[in-house]
């Protein structure tokens, strides 16, 4: 620290010298600055090499081996991938379940969030109270939320009590192969508050004049919602859609907490990609096989994200866009 403070005036003193000295001074100052940059950035560079890049390369190699993490890895080429794609039915079930979960929970969450945000954007009394109540569930850590839902979804739990009041016989939720995935979706919808708050903030940014003009032209509130609010929000809806897809494909804790235990629905009904990967790696020590799963998962996420970007051109509206 102190020698740094001394170095600066020395640098300033070097400036008014003759042209070659000035140039040399500039060059050494530049070099010093670069050195400081690499010194400051070194934690990130080291972390990147040790915790990201190194493991990534290792993961590619491991995915080509048969390895139980104790003996030496046995190189098998693309055999893990072949086995996953052609022989392992659990992989396809996990993929199907994960797509089912993501394809419903993400759009549904956004739709409900949009609807709630639109209601909160009106001139309602006690808006803060409603907003807080809707947002509160998103602050509950996933494990705690899953614990609570274990109780909510019990065959004789509160949800079925509520349904009973309406005369609907509720299913056994987590124990029922057809209802275990909707149960997980229900839990994700409980966290609809984060999308709501985000969309509400974006709605506040839409110029009021647009609505006033539409009003003068006689557009109904419904028409104003679909022709002004929704198009103006498409960029943020799109952002949330992509982030939501990425997050939903990596669902783990809820599945682990809610679908494991003495009484549960058959595994095929609820197995998802990351829990499948986790079991292969840390329950069966199929490290090579699990690494191959992680790369396939990455490709699937990448694929869906690219599809989202492709279709975005058709429906995302950017104010500044010049066509």
């Amino acid at each position: 620290m102190t020698n740094l403070a001394e170095a600066a005036p020395a640098r300033a003193g070097a400036a008014p010298g003759s042209a070659p000295t000035r140039l040399a001074g500039l060059r050494s100052r530049r070099r010093k600055e670069a050195l400081w940059f690499y010194l400051f950035a070194s934690p990130w560079i080291v972390g990147f090499l040790v915790f990201l890049f190194g493991p990534m390369v290792a993961s590619i190699y491991l995915s080509l081996t048969d390895w139980d993490s104790f003996t030496t890895p046995n190189f098998v080429g693309l055999d893990n991938y072949r086995q996953l794609l052609t022989e392992d039915p659990v992989f396809w079930t996990a993929l199907k379940n994960t797509i089912y979960y993501s394809a419903i929970s993400v759009p549904l969450g956004l739709l409900i969030g949009l609807w709630l945000a639109n209601l909160l954007n009106k001139q309602v009394r006690a808006r803060k109270l409603f907003r807080t109540l809707i947002y509160l569930p998103t602050l509950v850590p996933l494990v705690a939320a899953a614990m609570v839902f274990k109780m909510v979804l019990m065959p004789s739990g509160p949800l079925n009590d509520l349904l009973g009041l309406a005369g609907i016989p509720g299913p056994t939720w987590l124990l029922d192969p057809t209802w275990v995935k909707p149960s997980l979706i229900l839990l994700s919808i409980w966290g609809v508050g984060s999308a709501t708050v985000l969309l509400l903030a974006a709605m506040k940014g839409i110029p009021k004049e647009l609505y006033e003009a539409a009003e003068v032209d006689g557009a109904s509130p419904m028409r104003q919602f679909w022709s002004i609010t929704v198009p103006q929000l498409t960029p943020i809806i799109f952002f949330n859609l992509v982030m939501g897809i990425i997050g939903a494909f990596q669902v783990f804790s809820q599945v682990y907490v809610l679908t494991r235990g003495a009484t549960q629905a058959p595994e095929e009904a609820s197995v998802m990609m990351v829990p499948f990967l986790f079991d292969q790696a840390f329950a069966f020590y199929h490290m090579g096989y699990a690494s191959a799963i992680s790369w396939l998962l990455f490709l699937v996420i990448l694929g869906f994200t690219l599809i989202a970007f492709r279709t975005a051109r058709k429906w995302v509206f950017y104010e500044t866009e010049v066509k």
């Binding site: 493991p55 614990m147 966290g191 002004i228 949330n240 990351v274 990455f298």
Partner: protein, 300 residues
């Protein structure tokens, strides 16, 4: 002027035009908001209700959504029964504090370097920073486990703490964007006054960076505090588990043929949730200030 007012007669009155109908709340608006908030609150009320129930009530599944009995002693019982709930809580606090400190210490300095210092190769390196944000954790999970196993860090807090001292792509990006918005004249003036790069960072940048660093602290805390998979991979001993893993452990490994102590598990869930609510309440102005349009549409 007169002509204009004449025209306006046919339209809605001036007052009505000021708030377009799209913004007017109807009884239906209130009804919907009330029902939705009530339904979303049911699980929260239920946690409190179960947490306050006696062991008998819980074993008989006889609890109600609205609390009917108030066994406040459950909240002290979790700390003196055979359940290591106090230990879980302490472990969570230790891991989270170190993780937060690590991210706040490293991200600020690294982000400042990327925003202000000039160096060959910096832009290429910054592209790498951005690219790292797209790597899913599952890909690096297994080799990282092997690495930490080789280092003998299994069943210690280190795998959950140490990587935070190296920052991550998202946080570097966040600080870099934040610093770029600050006027350059400030640190240039400080340099002329004789401060070196580290001096500029510590004396000038750090105080101004606080909102960004607090936001990073909140993100890290939220993530680490609620993290389940990390502890599940690295920690085996009951005495080492943080709260998030601990309550799952209690709920799944009670003695044979005996229901888990759900009331105490729910007390644990409340202990896990309350700090998040407090932190959000105290920190929300920093989060809004950062204007981060993150979030993930309900899918956490």
């Amino acid at each position: 002027m007169a002509v204009l007012t004449d025209v306006a007669v046919d339209r809605p009155t001036a007052k009505e035009t000021r708030t377009p109908r799209a913004f007017r709340a109807t009884p239906f608006t209130y009804a919907t908001l009330m029902i939705v908030s009530a339904v979303l609150s049911v699980p929260l009320v239920l946690v409190v209700s179960i947490a306050l129930s006696s062991d008998q009530t819980v074993n008989a599944n006889a609890f109600s959504i609205i609390p009917r009995e108030f066994h406040w002693e459950n909240f002290t019982r979790v700390f003196d029964t055979s359940l290591p709930m106090g230990r879980f809580l302490l472990n969570s606090v230790i891991i989270s504090l170190f993780a937060v400190a690590g991210q706040m210490l490293s991200s600020g300095l690294i982000g400042y370097a990327f925003a202000r210092l000039r160096a060959p190769g910096k832009n290429a390196l910054f592209m790498v920073v951005i690219a790292t944000m797209m790597i899913p954790t599952q890909i690096t999970m297994i080799p990282q486990f092997i690495l930490f196993k080789e280092l003998g860090w299994i069943n210690t807090f280190l795998p959950l703490i140490i990587p935070n001292f190296f920052s991550n792509g998202f946080n570097v990006f966040l600080v870099r964007q934040f610093v770029s918005r600050l006027p350059k004249e400030i640190d240039e003036a400080a340099m002329i006054d004789g401060l070196g790069f580290f001096g500029v960072y510590r004396r000038i940048m750090l105080p101004m960076l606080m909102p960004a660093l607090i936001a990073i602290g909140i993100f890290t805390l939220t993530y680490t505090w609620g993290d389940f998979m990390g502890p599940l991979i690295y920690l085996n001993d009951e005495s080492k588990m943080p709260l998030a893993l601990g309550i799952q452990y209690i709920s799944s490994t009670s003695a044979a043929m005996q229901a888990p102590p759900w009331n105490l598990v729910m007390v644990g869930s409340i202990l896990l949730t309350l700090p998040m609510i407090i932190v959000y309440y105290l920190g929300q102005r920093y989060l809004y200030e950062m204007d981060i349009s993150g979030g993930s549409a309900g899918v956490k």
